[in-house]
């Protein structure tokens, strides 16, 4: 088990390194750097001015070296011009003498956001908290309802209840967030239909989340994931219900209710557990769509802002965090699967 864990963590770190390098490479291609120069300097710079600006800001080194600087394994660049020393690690009160030579992610320095004019670590922290709040409620709504739908559908395969619930879960998996969000807002929040039960934006929910302003975004994300988990639960439940021990229990005269609750349920929930954990990458997509649609300023919203303005450091920070979330949930799903299912032992 320990060896397995070490191996998995090793692969995880390698994956995170590769992915952050890909993001770094793509955001630092020449046309993107030119855009940064024009954003920071002025939009009517000539090509020579752009080149000299990039040189002064340390952008002219090879990409791999700069990736090392960002990571904190290569000393940060310094540049001497007109008796003033500038450098990657020199900012604010730090001078050339007092500044550390390494400053990167490993030292806890994530860079500064060009759009928000703030440190990336602060922005990511605040936004992650917002998204975490959203995700928590999504999980609280999505997981129990998906499991209930799946168990009800799977306990009598082929019955009318099964048909109905299966069709409902297919319908929710066919509804991406931007479709269900638009329909839900139009029905429950617009003045055209006139129900006006909920608010169409969730901006207010960042400080003070109420049922009225927070339910629609949570429901929108939950719906898309719910169908998939419900179908997995149904398949798993239907399989368990054909098992020998269920037949034995039935022949012994155990009531149907007790068979489902005491004998079948626990075994049927092993497969959905992994599925729920593997849903996280998809939920992250949903979060980006819903936060944009409902104007809820979380991590997804920040991702859209950063990507739209080519805010390299912020984009890197957000992608590292989201990739880490995905990888950690995959690890948890693997460990949890072994833990829940004693028949499987990893050698």
């Amino acid at each position: 088990m320990l060896l397995f864990l070490l191996k998995r963590v090793g692969t995880m770190i390698l994956t995170a390194l590769c992915l952050s390098f890909i993001v770094f490479f793509l955001t630092n291609l020449p046309p993107n750097l030119e855009k940064i120069a024009k954003y920071e300097g002025n939009s009517r710079m000539t090509d020579e001015e752009v080149t000299s600006w990039l040189e002064n800001s340390g952008f002219n080194q090879p990409t791999l070296l700069r990736y090392g600087e960002w990571l904190g394994v290569v000393p940060g660049w310094t540049n001497e011009r007109d008796d003033r020393i500038t450098g990657r690690c020199i900012s604010g009160e730090l001078t050339a003498e007092t500044a550390p030579s390494f400053c990167g992610v490993l030292q806890g320095y994530w860079g500064d956001s060009r759009v928000f004019r703030e440190e990336v670590s602060t922005i990511v922290g605040v936004r992650l908290w917002m998204t975490g709040k959203l995700m928590l409620w999504v999980m609280l709504l999505m997981v129990p309802s998906a499991l209930i739908i799946g168990v009800l559908a799977g306990m009598r395969e082929g019955s009318k209840l099964d048909r109905t619930l299966s069709t409902v879960s297919i319908a929710t998996t066919a509804t991406p967030e931007y479709v269900s969000g638009v329909i839900l807002i139009a029905v429950f929040a617009s003045s055209a239909v006139g129900l006006k039960w909920f608010k169409g934006t969730a901006t207010a929910a960042m400080e003070n989340a109420t049922f009225e302003n927070f339910f629609l975004p949570v429901l929108t994300i939950s719906l898309y994931g719910m169908g998939y988990i419900a179908r997995m639960t149904r398949a798993s439940m239907a399989e368990v219900m054909t098992a020998q021990y269920i037949r034995t229990a039935r022949l012994k005269g155990v009531s149907f209710r007790n068979i489902v609750l005491k004998h079948a349920l626990r075994n049927a929930l092993i497969a959905p557990f992994t599925v729920i954990m593997l849903q996280f990458p998809w939920l992250l997509n949903g979060v980006v769509v819903v936060e944009t649609l409902f104007n809820y300023k979380g991590l997804g919203w920040a991702l859209v802002q950063a990507a739209g303005n080519n805010d390299v450091d912020l984009l890197l920070g957000i992608s590292v965090v989201s990739v880490m979330v995905v990888l950690v949930t995959q690890l948890i799903s693997d460990i949890g699967y072994v833990y829940l299912n004693p028949r499987i032992r990893i050698s």
Binding site: L19, T175, V182, S190, P281, L303, G308, V323, Q330
Partner: protein
């Protein structure tokens, strides 16, 4: 003129779709009559859910064809605006309609005073042109890499699986934001990716024919020559585009050019889908390669590629067909996501994602410009999912 009531709008919509109804009725009548001779496709018509799904999918396919090829269903030009029709509710008569103009905006006007109904049906043509083809390419890539990974195993498998997991760990939207930007088109990276990705169908078909007719060299050479000439030319004119960095083919030999925006959308959708297909094919190959008929072929002395493509691949067709249907739906959702974030496709494009994105700004006052394309997308993806479900159920009955 009086605005139309909801009942009249419904009636007018039914009339507008007449060519589609006729095509659908013919398809169903023919298929149900001959369903016993049509294999898996025929069995679909024993399954209510599968039939409903098939009907929804074919509705959009026929609509797209009618709009794209014959210009039939549309009532107005999806790109041009009419004066005084901004944000009008469904059923509003067209102001200053001349003879030959359609007199109403059946499903209202959007913020730029364009006809919502025409944009919706024109959007079907955009989706139907991109989604199935992109899925097909993703399958070619996934199959060409997944078969050897599962069959040979070892280092090749580890390397390819690592790469696939790498792409899958990326949040899709981040990948789109990185790949589908004008700057990225400028650097030529999408064109280079297209060079690699579009090569896979040629490799796949070449190996497929070579493995089958290896023992009859004259026949094989003829087939391969024809195939490589046709596909090679198509490939070269596809990737060579005077506007990007990859322009080497003289203009007279260049058959067609794909606009840079469409190409980058196509490439990134294929790129996102291929790893999942790879994983499915690899898993199926791992399962099937332990079967007796594979051992028999090995004993016969067949080459590894013959076994992979002519023994293993045909036996994976059930799950692959089902996944193909689901994946077209997923690709449609991805295209919508791209449009929703205003990436890739031009802002006036009538595709559903872009239209939803434009409509959502005034959603709480005028919901119809966003609702109509949303329902269209929903019904098409739902149709594909129901079709996949029906196919799965029927293929399991064998």
């Amino acid at each position: 003129m009086e605005p139309l009531s909801w009942g009249q709008i419904g009636l007018q919509l039914l009339i507008q779709f007449i060519p589609v109804w006729i095509a659908l009725a013919l398809t169903f009548a023919l298929s149900i009559t001959y369903k016993r001779r049509l294999g898996l496709y025929g069995k679909l018509f024993d399954n209510v859910i599968g039939m409903v799904g098939f009907g929804l999918v074919m509705f959009w396919v026929y609509t797209a064809l009618a709009v794209g090829l014959f210009d039939w269903v549309v009532t107005h030009d999806p790109l041009s605006a009419a004066t005084g029709m901004k944000n009008k509710v469904p059923g509003t008569p067209l102001r200053g309609a001349e003879d030959g103009d359609y007199a109403y905006y059946l499903l209202g006007g959007d913020t730029l005073a364009r006809d919502v109904f025409s944009r919706m049906v024109a959007g079907a043509w955009v989706v139907i042109r991109i989604a199935p083809l992109a899925t097909l390419f993703a399958f070619m890539v996934g199959i060409t890499l997944g078969l050897p990974a599962g069959y040979f195993g070892g280092r090749l498998d580890s390397a390819l699986s690592f790469a696939a997991n790498l792409i899958l760990a990326f949040p899709v939207i981040l990948l789109f934001y990185l790949l589908v930007t004008p700057e990225m088109v400028q650097t030529g990276i999408p064109s280079y990716m297209a060079i690699v990705l579009f090569l896979f169908p040629i490799i796949f078909l070449t190996v497929l024919i070579n493995a089958r007719y290896r023992t009859q060299p004259s026949r094989r050479n003829l087939m391969l020559a024809v195939l490589l000439f046709v596909l090679g030319w198509a490939y070269l004119s596809l990737i060579s585009d005077p506007e990007t960095r990859v322009a080497f083919l003289p203009e007279r030999l260049d058959l067609f050019n794909i606009p840079g925006g469409i190409l980058v959308v196509f490439v990134s959708v294929v790129f996102v889908n291929a790893p999942t297909v790879f994983r499915i094919v690899r898993g199926l190959t791992l399962d099937i390669k332990t079967r007796d008929y594979v051992a028999a072929a090995q004993t016969r002395g067949e080459g590894p590629w013959y076994i992979m493509l002519w023994e293993i691949l045909p036996n994976t067709r059930g799950p692959l067909i089902v996944d193909f249907c689901l994946r077209i739906g997923y690709t449609t959702i991805l295209l919508g996501t791209l449009g929703f974030f205003g990436l890739g496709l031009p802002p006036e494009s009538p595709d559903w994602g872009t239209t939803i994105n434009q409509g959502r700004k005034l959603l709480s006052i005028y919901p119809h410009p966003a609702i109509v394309p949303a329902v269209a997308l929903l019904s098409m993806v739902l149709g594909l999912n129901l079709l996949a479900d029906g196919l799965r159920e029927e293929s399991l009955k064998d």
